[in-house]
Structure formats: C-alpha cells, structure tokens
C-alpha cells in the first residue's frame, strides 16, 4: 500500500499534514496510476566476495567503499530491478501539458508507488531467504554514496532487464522508464538488518526529502 506520508514528503511537506485539496488530488492520481501501470520486477542471486577496495558480485567488480560496508558480512546478494513501465511516464507527460499541479502530485505518487512496490517484492525475497536462514540488508542502489551510477548498465545487463521488464538506461545513466529502481540487496545470516537505514544511511545531508 502506497504511503500518503511518503507522497507528501516528495511534495515537500516536510512532515506537515496535507490540505484537503492535495489529499483529494493524491487519491485521484493514485487511482489513475493504478489503472494505467503494470509494475514489473526482476531479481537474480549473485555470490558476494571482497577484495581490498572492491566488492565482486559474481564477476562484476565494483569499487565502492560504501557498498563494501553495506554488504559486509554477506556471502550472497540479490540484484534487483523494478519499474512501473512506460505508461507512468506517458501519463506524467500528458498531465504536465494540461495541469502542472496535478502533474507534480502524480509524479510524487508514482515515485512512492514504485518504492512501495519494491517493498512488496522485497517481502517476497525476504520470505524466500528466511527459508534458508538468511536476512535482507536494505536495498542499495547505484548512485548512493560512492557506488557509481555508471553501474546501472551492469546491473541491467546481468538482469537482462530490457528484454524481461522493458527497463533500460540512457547514456546519461538515467533509468528509462523513469519510475524504476535497481538495487543490490545483501543476504546475511546475521540478524542485524535494519530497514530504516535506507534514507538515514545516505550522505546527502541536504536532500530535501531526507527523513528527519
């Protein structure tokens, strides 16, 4: 279930409650989005090994201290991708031509929707891992910390994401369709995982969306 508070946060409300007009608009945008989009996801298990300054996900070598820290203690990870598909972008584009106010609400709803869809997928992955006595670390995406955004290409290639869910990346490393997520999810036998760290673990201290 997409969280209204998350949507308001994306809209810059910083914890303040939404007024009646915006809440109505959120309702109607969520309904329009749910009718228009078909979320899709992919996951693929890889072995995690470490070298001095890099972490290897199968044969993919990633030089990132933050990712090393994040996957510390994990022997396995799930490469994950999800997208709302092109219909979300089409709807956003169309709405922005007729009503910008609705367009920003729709954009916030779509952003929250893909996140909550990822959470749903993660619950399935988590249940599957639990059977093997493993716990999930939070999703960690290219572009977080020093995990270079250029690795979007690698993740999508390994997942065969264009063919399977229509998810691609532009030369500028943007995911297209835009309402999409890629991530590495560490699996560990230690039960030290925490889900809140997703936002607070990030070093963008000035981010307007940061959860205080």
């Amino acid at each position: 279930m997409t969280d209204i508070k998350e949507i308001l946060r994306y809209l810059g409300y910083r914890g303040k409650p939404g007024d009646e007009q915006v809440l109505k608009s959120i309702d109607s945008c969520m309904e329009e989005l749910s009718r228009a989009v078909t979320p899709r996801s992919l996951s693929h298990s890889v072995e995690v090994t470490f070298t001095d300054n890099a972490v290897c996900l199968d044969s993919l070598k990633i030089e990132s201290n933050d990712l090393i820290g994040h996957l510390d203690g994990c022997g396995e990870a799930i490469l994950f991708a999800a997208t709302l598909g092109t219909q979300a972008d089409f709807l956003l584009e169309r709405t922005s031509k007729i009503d910008m106010s609705r367009a920003v609400v729709l954009q916030a709803c779509a952003a929250a929707m893909v996140e909550s869809y990822c959470d749903d997928c993660e619950r399935e992955i988590s249940a599957e891992a639990a059977k093997r006595g493993l716990f999930l670390r939070p999703r960690y995406s290219p572009g977080y910390g020093d995990f270079s955004i250029r690795h979007q290409h690698d993740l999508l290639r390994i997942l065969d994401a264009q063919k399977k869910i229509g998810l691609t990346v532009t030369d500028g490393c943007m995911l297209a369709p835009s309402k999409s997520v890629t991530a590495v999810i560490g699996l560990t036998s230690e039960k030290t995982s925490c889900h809140i760290a997703k936002c607070m673990g990030c070093k963008s201290l000035n981010c307007p969306f940061r959860k205080d």
């Binding site: 092109t86 169309r94 031509k97 367009a103 030369d171 500028g172 943007m174 835009s178």
Partner: protein, 792 residues
Amino acid sequence: MRILDELGKRIIFFDGGMGTMLQQKGLAAGELPELWNLTHPELITEIQAQYCAAGADIIKTNTFGANEIKLSECGHSVEEIITAAVQIAKKAAAGTNALVAMDIGPTGKLMKPLGDLAFEKAYAVFSQAAAAGEKAGADLILIETMSDTYECKAAVLAAKQNTKLPVFVTVIVDEKGKLLTGGDIASAVALLEGLGVDALGLNCGFGPEQMKKLLPQLMSCCSVPVIINPNAGLPHSIGGETVFDVKPAEFSAAMKEITQGGAWIIGGCCGTTPAHISATVQLCRDIQPVPQEQKHLTVVSSFAKAVSFGEKPVLIGERINPTGKSRLKQALRDNDMDYLLREGITQQQNGAHILDVNVGLPEIDEPALLQRAVTEIQSVVDLPLQIDTSDTTAMEAAMRIYNGKPLINSVNGKEESMRAIFPLVKRYGGVVIALTLDEDGIPTTAKGRFAIAEKIVKTAAEYGIDKKDIIVDTLAMTISAGQENAAVTLNAVRMIRENLGVHTSLGVSNISFGLPQREHINAAFFTMALQNGLSVAIVNPNSAAMMDAYFAYCALSGADNQCMDYIGRYSGQKADSAPPSGELSLNAAVVKGLKDSARAAAEKLLETEEPLHIINTQMIPALDQVGKDFEQGVLFLPQLLMSAEAAKSAFEVIRGKMSGKGEQVKKEKIILATVKGDVHDIGKNIVKVLLENYSYDLIDLGRDVSPEKVVEAAEKDGVKLVGLSALMTTTVTNMEETIRQLHARLPDCKVMVGGAVLTPEYAKQIHADSYSKDAMGAVHYAQKLFSGNESH
C-alpha cells in the same frame, strides 16, 4: 527451399532456444552470447546442428544482441560477429534443407522521447545488422522479442529498405496480450502488415499454453502467415535462478493445438531444446496448415491502440489545422507546441477516435514542423493520427517517424497525386483518404465521383495497395453555392459504400460554409451522411451539437450496443453544469487556485477595467502572496501550481482582450532547457509555468538539448537569460559545457541553473550566474535581473 513458396503448404518449424542452451554450457549472466560466435564457434554449430537434426526448417543465427549499441565495448565489429554467426549457422545447416534466419533482437535502449534512442539512430543500427546478415548469406530476417512497436518499426523498415530478404517479425506480449510499451496485438498487427512483413507472430514471454489463449485474438486480425515461438513455460525463479519447466511432450501437445488454431510457422524460444523441437516436429509435421483468411480490415493504429472502420462510425478531430484558426496559426509560428498538445488532449477527452494533424502555413518549414508535431502529440495522446498535408516531403517525413499505422490525408484522382502518394503508403503503411476529384475538377454528379473513386482504387491495386486501405471522401461542398450539393455527396457516399465496398469519409462542416448558425446544418447533414453509410467523419469533437448527433445516431442505428454509450454520456448529467460563480475576487481565486473562478472573475473585471490595471492590482499581488506563502512553508508545491494554473487561465482572457486592442504584455524572453542527456523535465516545466505567470516570454527548448542548440536559440532571439536544469551528476558536465559556450559566445547572457543534484557551490563551480533552489528562486532572479527594464 524458397521459404515464401513453402508457407501454407506445410507447417514450417523454427529451432528453439539458444541463450538458455549457452547458459547451460557456461555462459554467465550479463555476458554477451554473441561473442561466443568468435570464442566457441563449435559449440554454437553443435547446438544448431542438433536443431537441424530435430527437424527445424529454419535456424536462427546467434545474433540476438548483435547490434552496434550492445556490442559497443566488446572490441569486435558488428559485421565481424554477424558474418561469423551466419557462417556457423550455414555450416550447421549444411547437408540439410534448413534455412538460416538472421536473428535481430531489440537494441536494449528505450526510444525517444521516454528514452534516448532516436528513431533514425535505431534505423541505422538495424540497417547495419540486416545488411551484414544478408551479405553473409542469411536466407531471411527474423526480428524478434520486440516489446516496443516503435523500435520494431525502425527494425522492419531497416530490413526492408536495406535487404531483399523475406522479413518475419515476432513481438513479446504479456498474458493480457499487451506489449511492454502498452500496445495491444491489434495495433502491432496493423503496423506490421502495413509495413509489409512476410509473416508475424509472438515469441518469448511465456509458454505455449498462454500463447494458445492469445492466438484467437491474433488470428482474428491478422492476414499474413502467423508465427508462434513460445518459451518452455512461464519462467520462474528457484533459488535466484530462472527455470523453464514445460517438458517436450507437454510443449509439443500445446503446439499441435496452436497449429490447428491457425499458426503456420512454429518453434521455440527460451528454455526450449532440440528435444522440444523434435517432439513438436513429430507431432505437427503432417498437419495441413489452416487456410489463412484475408480479413479485409480497414484499420489504423497508434503505439497503444488500433481503430478499425466499419463497426461504428469513427470521429476524426479536426482542431489541429490552422485553416481559419488565428490562435493556432500564432502557436505554430511561435513554436508553441503546448497549445497543439492541449488541443489534442481536449479532443480526445471530448470523444475523438483519431486526431487530424495539419500544420501547413506558407512561411514555415512544414516537413520539420509536421514531424515534430506528430512526435510530440504521440508523447501525450495515444489515439491514431491522421497526417494531413499537401506537401509530399512533409508527408513522408511524418509517416516515417509516426509510431503506428497512420491515416493519410490525402490522395486524389490526379495521376500526379497517385504517383506521389501510393509509393509512400506502400513503404510505410497507412490508410489513405482519397478525394473524388481529378484533373477535370470535382464532378457535379454522384456517378462522376464514383468513377473517380473506382479509378483510384484500381490504380492503388497496381501499387499493391488493397482497397481496404482506401477511404473515399466524396467531398462535402456548401449548399449555399448549390442546394443539390448535399444530395450529390450523400448519393456518392452510398454508391461507393454499396458498389465499391470501400469506406467513406467527409469533412462534414464544409456543407454549411457561408450560412449562419452552421452547427444546425452540420449536425443534420452529419446524421444524414451516417444514415447513407458514412464510416468516418472529420468533425469538431468540442462541438456539443455534433457529438449529440453522433451519440444519438449510434443509439438509433444499433451501433451503440444497448445504448450504453448514450446512457453513459447523458444520464445523470445536470441540465446545466453550474457556471463558476463570480463571487470570488480575481485575487482570491488565484490565491485559492480556482481556475474557473479566476477566468470568470477576469472576464467580469474586463467589462469595466483596463487589462493592465487588472494585472497590476489583482494578478501580481495574488501571485506575490502565493509565492511568499510557498517560500515560508505556509503552502506547498501543488497549491503554488494550482494558483499558477488559475492565474494562467485568467491571463488567457486578459491577453485575448489586449491583443484585440493591439496591446502587449510580453516582457523579456527567457530560454528554458533541460541539458543534453537529461530526459526528465518536470522541474523545468514547473519553473516555466511560474515564469509565464510573471509575463516573461518563455522559449522552451524541451529536454535533452545540446549546448549548440541552446546557444543558437539564445543568439537568434537576443535572449538575456537562460535557465538550465539537470537531474543527474552525469549530465551536469553537459550543463557546464552549455554554460561555457553561452558565456563565450554571448557574454551578456546570464545563466540560472537548478535541478536535483545541484547546490549553490556546485552551480558556482560550473560558472552558472545563479542557482535557484526552486521555481520561486528562478522568478526572483529574473525579476532582479530585469528590474528597471520594464514595468508591468
């Protein structure tokens, strides 16, 4: 074996999966399978030889991803890999009758405008692959696993225009029969048949059981041979690995039913093995192919949907045509695409099934503008379009980049017209409107118009265009010039529908030209024409009278099953939807973000006050207050924009009055653009709406704009302020380069920047003149920069 001669005589068998077989032999996830043509040729040959031995008639080369984009960093050329792959397949097929299909998969990129792959780039990439395949000796081309009709169109055009090989195409859909980009099977079939593919069908996605369910849908609209290449079941994940588990016996049993359901060409995709193909061949080879009926459907399509003619009258929205519309002419001259797009969306909301797009003005570059208009309209409207121009260069340019099978307006009975238009219809696909006029003008009798229609249909056939792809317009001419005009036109409609068996169209409102209260005549004539068998009408969907006539006719004629559309439209409708009350002041309406009230209040004020006075005493104070409240966290972005939209609708009324009096409010020009590489522009659009409220003259260059284009635009109009947005660290370098070029070329021009990754420090570092943390920041900078130059 000549494949096209064999089709329909016996069932033809494709081979099965290659990628999944290679993975079993050690191909890692993410590794390029095409490189194995160079590193493990013997393995590929071995797999393909097994497929030949299993009885496959066609084996696919291992070239699914062999294109310039996917192979860019592999150190080998596309030609080298494709040549090797074709040779390997030919070696495997040696000694058998099997043919080699040059396999072409998607590029892996998303097409513009949602992604960054331009249509012509995709065309070039596919052209290279197709030509290399033919040169190396492939017998046919298989374009497969296409999930985007637009990319698929680029691939088919490339294959057909660069090789002489037969072209087969299969697309991938989900269980609802939808492509990833939202298109349905009917729209894909319309596009592909229009482009003249030799066979088409479905592959990948899931197993034969699911495909069996979609087959009737495909057979109902398809007239060319059908291909079905399913996976060995629905892929599912076990311990992170993808598994396909439909076994050969089960697979082949389902394929037998698929063959009996009408498929002529069958094989396998992911997870299928020589054992699957062998079992399928055993079970299906003696089945006689079910004769493929010609469906004779007249159908046009967009990327999302197909519209077919005949079942129910079709409405073409006529509003995107500058003839007699000064506001649209102005928008076209100003490159104001947003106005066109809003016209398009409104017509769709009001019930149009197809939109006419005509941007012909004497002083513009029509090919470029028509291409742009078509592309932009398709990015916000999912209806099929009618490409309407008398300039054949513009027509070809637009048909080429159109995503779907378009309606074309028009051809006529003149030799010259048919010679120019029919080859385009043949090449790009389309349904063409044929006007019943020729070198001798417009016949004054229905018989005369029928004769021209007959000539056009006959000539089209010589170009290989079936009459199903022609819709005859018998030309409505005003009854004020001759009262028999209506009868002649209507008789011609009936004769052509009954005796020539083609669909008919009319530009309905022409009938009343020169008369007062034209809608009365138009609506009655429209009903009469429908009763005479008219299939499609070009009308104004924003006219209640025309739409009322349409819905009433459909209910009366039985085209509207159980009158559901009629009831849906009119039941519960209030006799008059309460007009926005004029109680609120303009200032209050803007502050509260009430669009209709703001417009009504502005209209009322204009009765007694001067436009400039209204702007200065009502609009500007309201906008300033809202801006301040936003900055203080009293109200938030959606509310700020609601106020902006309310102000915009009031401004439209006020400007209308001013331009009527020859006055101007336009202030300094500001350019806005999202930098090269950045394909998202919602932030830039927010800034635009607010700056427009402050009456700046905005030049919106859109997204993914090169530095050169920004400099060129700024130079051309002497612009003193450019706003740039960038969303990603990866594209800020392009922002920096744009700023560098602007400053070098136009030292007086200031640059303000904004976007998710920017900070004041970062902006300084790339030499921006100003950083805006939000849209109001941009407004303040513009006001500061231009203060003293001009007052409101």
